[in-house]
Symmetry: D2
Subunit: 332 residues, 4 copies
């Protein structure tokens, strides 16, 4: 931001599309276990929302041959801001094309990040209005709290794998106008293992992390917010009682200070139930950089994350040969 | 207990029967909102359990013209202890008769407390075995945690109204062998407004409190346990979103230090969702006695309980005449 | 915002000064009970911080004849934004003067809101660097979590009384560029009782609420954030055990959905320990307006706020005459 | 219990003595970090209590060359019960001798369990009366809640290592009259790895677990109760910020369903901060037996306990030779 003013054209992460080869089981996971609400179905897609999301459907679940992430959609603060960001995307050579927008949204510009993940920019958004049976007793709540399962309040963030982290991180900063929040840099800072960025006060809305298997456009995890750490503990019980594989947590990250729980939804995608963390208001926030030493195990209280947390992503790839030619970094 | 050894023949409060004039709505409240499980139906009764109750069905919901409490059942520690307590009941002139026992229980002796509430003593109990679909992943848990609604773990205690508190309290101590835990005594200790007693380490399993309207055999409230205060806060949201009247809380009692939430189930009975409190292990525990001054508002953090908490019980009675002949005590 | 882009020049509420006639007792309250850290003393002022505040000292406690609020300071997103906001303040006729800035801050422009509360705008801010003994084990945390008392994380917001709410609310929106979040409007919307606004995703950073006693520049409350509702419950125990008057809570507001606890610090100011609530990301957020009917008691779960919540503010004023000439609104 | 009545002579675990080679640092850990209160000092010992313990001093910290456990003291329900249990101890050939009792207790019988851990039986106990500065605002609380550090409420249980688990478990059942709650049995039930027992509704007050290093009279851990899982999470932050080694947790055990946090106090003893779990009221409770398969990792949500949890105890012993002659069981 040296000298220049921060770009504040993107308002927030608006929606995420997940691919699943097991649409019925994935729907059961998000609706019956996580407690999200189905608002629309169309083609091979189901549209869902947390009880506190103001937009109609921030999660789109689409049947596909393999799990992974589809469109990642960002809402701008105005029509003018949308024009400015599209111009920046085109200037960066990542340009795509305009479309009519997905369910509940207006005209949308589709492009990719440098890694190749599908992204969208839009401004027009239909506010969700609950049908009578789902209306909340609380006037400022978009929908009734159902008390079903985990009770996800809203979408929070996602982590993407990339072969070239700096290139994608610079795209986030310079093209989308995100603020860099935290980084892992190894080898005296020369190797950027991962970067966490945000357009809001929320700690991060997106991370790009090194794909240790050299895959393309893969998803590390998608994260859903609950209000309390007790909700995360309760979520662990619910997932465990329903045979869902819990990969890690509940525990506390050092990066972001968040309280996490990672499980694999039946389609294969890693889903985080997430709370805690901290808000960042400083316009000149100085990014926190972790090296090999102060990174530790990636977990504040000490217990290490399992190796699958580094190796597994969607769509999955076979394990690397036993003797890799290049060193494998462990960004846990 | 001076010199004599404590009687420890009653193991714990085993089951409670509630009457309801609206059986379908009451069932919706306990099953869908509080998250209890239906295990049996018979005649006009539905049998329910919390996911952590070891007995089959500690709550029996019975259709009746008016709300209120039916049988209050106590399990003994052995057959011999059962015989001893029945002898004590008969010696106290409260004797009743033996029966075959309700669903899941063996032979049972039925009698009344001095106020006239129906009570039962039994030893034989069928342990609950969950059907495959409700089996827990946790071997020491009798049933799967469903994640539905409030998620009551087990029954905890009940509060009964009485016209003569000391007589009923003495019955609890001397006939059933309960330990007196707390009391409210006004007028320099002369007027016993309420007494809280228990046969276990749980703060109280039963209370007898003065019926300010002079009714007969009425119920003040029945209480269900959840593990965390967060569960009580979450319960308040669920009840509020479903149109249930919340009378008081979530807040913290001074008596018992418990974290409480009082609502009226559709049949009219006052139900408490309850957590916190403290365990009592001392064999010579010295009862805590509160007078007018140190009683305060009955609430630890300051806000008073509403007047309905004093006036309302089931079955309900009309309000007293505006100028009562006898002073009305406020045991809030 | 119709057609125009939102102004996003103010980054966040930066600091608040409280006046206290009992500086030692007030310091005990904030440092020993709430667990804040003293970072500086100068003249009659003590500078404090929460363990998660990134700025050096967002709370300044200044000895004065009467309690109340002093300077309310807003940080801008850049030097250019500072210039733009100062120009807007001057254009609005509320202009003041430049100064050197308080402890830890650069040049600062001082002015007043229409009601007369002292306000400041600044950009330059010294980031807090903890001395070795207070350094956190967590690299992204500015200071060690002490575990002392309540453990306030950061300042959150404040509520100001005003004789003319619309005028102050318009100043917040048009001059400072805040987003209006919620309002209470009585008499078919004609009487604006209170308005809640923010420059960040946090629900509100400031509210202007009708001064029912017609005072000048008074403070309703100042609010401090803790991460969990359990921290608020624990705070209530700590305050109660130390003889602090608890006015209301812990409970849940309908406005903002926050979990609150109001007490009076020894100097007389009403202080809120605050958690929960929800974040707002929509650039076109539609303000929530509550009228007499849907306002209810001001409390989501039902129990009313006490009348002192309406009547008391700092500095305090005598109660109005028994028969006021003008109707008194109850914005609870 | 087949046919016979349960023995209910022991009321509860009354006190535990820990040895520490670093008395000052251990005192800092229990008083300043865990928030316990010092009530007495005598010789090389300091006596401490949680704010909710009814006895004067359930934890005695004694300077010694090596860490480990000293006297483990059990309170009976009466003088007669004390006589009965002493007779049973003597009949079992574990007899010791009568003494005057430690601080706050009356005459005491000292003996050992079959493994050789020092144990005591007593009935007379002085109730704690707080000095004015430590008096609680809550009449039924023995002491003010200080809000300092973790805020331990009371002692809970301890786990002892033994070379012969069945022998010690039978002693607990038959001589002290404990109820067996859970067991780990490997090799088709032939090898008893650990047994958990209690005299109260609390899940377990003592466990005897196989000493895989064949030591003598060693301590696995001593456990202190906090009321909420949030308190355990908060404890982890406090311990981490103060450089205390966290061995495992916060997480949830399958055995006992408890929410745990294990750290090593500076003297070397493993201390658990503990909450959750469940109460057992059944007089005929059927012990839960875990084998190799259903034991899993010993942790409900999946992550394994570290190997130190199996290997480390106090006083510590060197690791076994690389190729042990006897198989090493892993009771995690």
């Amino acid at each position: 931001m040296s000298g220049n003013e921060p770009i504040r054209d993107v308002a927030h992460l608006g929606a995420v599309e997940l691919f699943t080869p097991k649409p019925d089981e994935s729907l059961w996971y998000f609706r019956d276990l996580l407690g999200m609400e189905v608002v629309h179905q169309s083609g091979g897609s189901v549209y869902l929302r947390g009880y506190g999301d103001y937009a109609k459907a921030p999660l789109k679940l689409t049947e596909a041959a393999k799990p992974g992430v589809g469109a990642i959609s960002w809402r701008t603060i105005s029509e003018q801001a949308l024009e400015r960001r599209v111009a920046a995307v085109e200037a960066a050579g990542l340009g795509g094309s305009w479309g009519n927008g997905d369910y509940g949204r207006g005209r949308t510009y589709r492009f990719t990040d440098p890694e190749g993940h599908a992204m969208e920019l839009y401004y027009e958004e239909e506010r969700y209005v609950a049908p009578p049976a789902l209306r909340s007793a609380l006037k400022n709540q978009p929908m009734k709290f159902s008390g079903r399962g985990v009770g996800v309040r809203r979408i929070d963030h996602l982590a993407l794998l990339a072969r070239d982290v700096p290139k994608n991180r610079e795209f986030g900063q310079n093209v989308l106008g995100m603020q860099l929040r935290e980084q892992i840099r190894f080898n005296n800072g020369e190797t950027e293992i991962g970067s966490w960025l945000s357009t809001t006060a929320v700690h991060h809305e997106v991370a790009w992390v090194l794909d240790v298997k050299g895959g393309t456009g893969r998803l590390h995890h998608f994260s859903l917010w609950v209000d309390n750490r007790e909700d995360v503990l309760r979520a662990a019980d619910i997932l465990r009682e329903n045979g869902i594989f819990i990969e890690a947590g509940p525990s506390k990250h050092n990066n972001s200070q968040a309280f996490y729980l990672y499980s694999y939804e039946p389609g294969g995608n890693r889903i985080e139930v997430y709370s805690g963390s901290f808000l960042i208001f400083a316009p000149d926030f100085e990014p926190v950089v972790w090296n090999e030493q102060d990174r530790g195990t990636g977990v504040y209280w000490g217990a290490p994350l399992p190796s699958s947390f580094l190796q597994y992503a969607t769509p999955d790839l076979p394990d690397p040969p036993a003797e890799p030619d290049v060193p494998v970094f462990d960004p846990r």
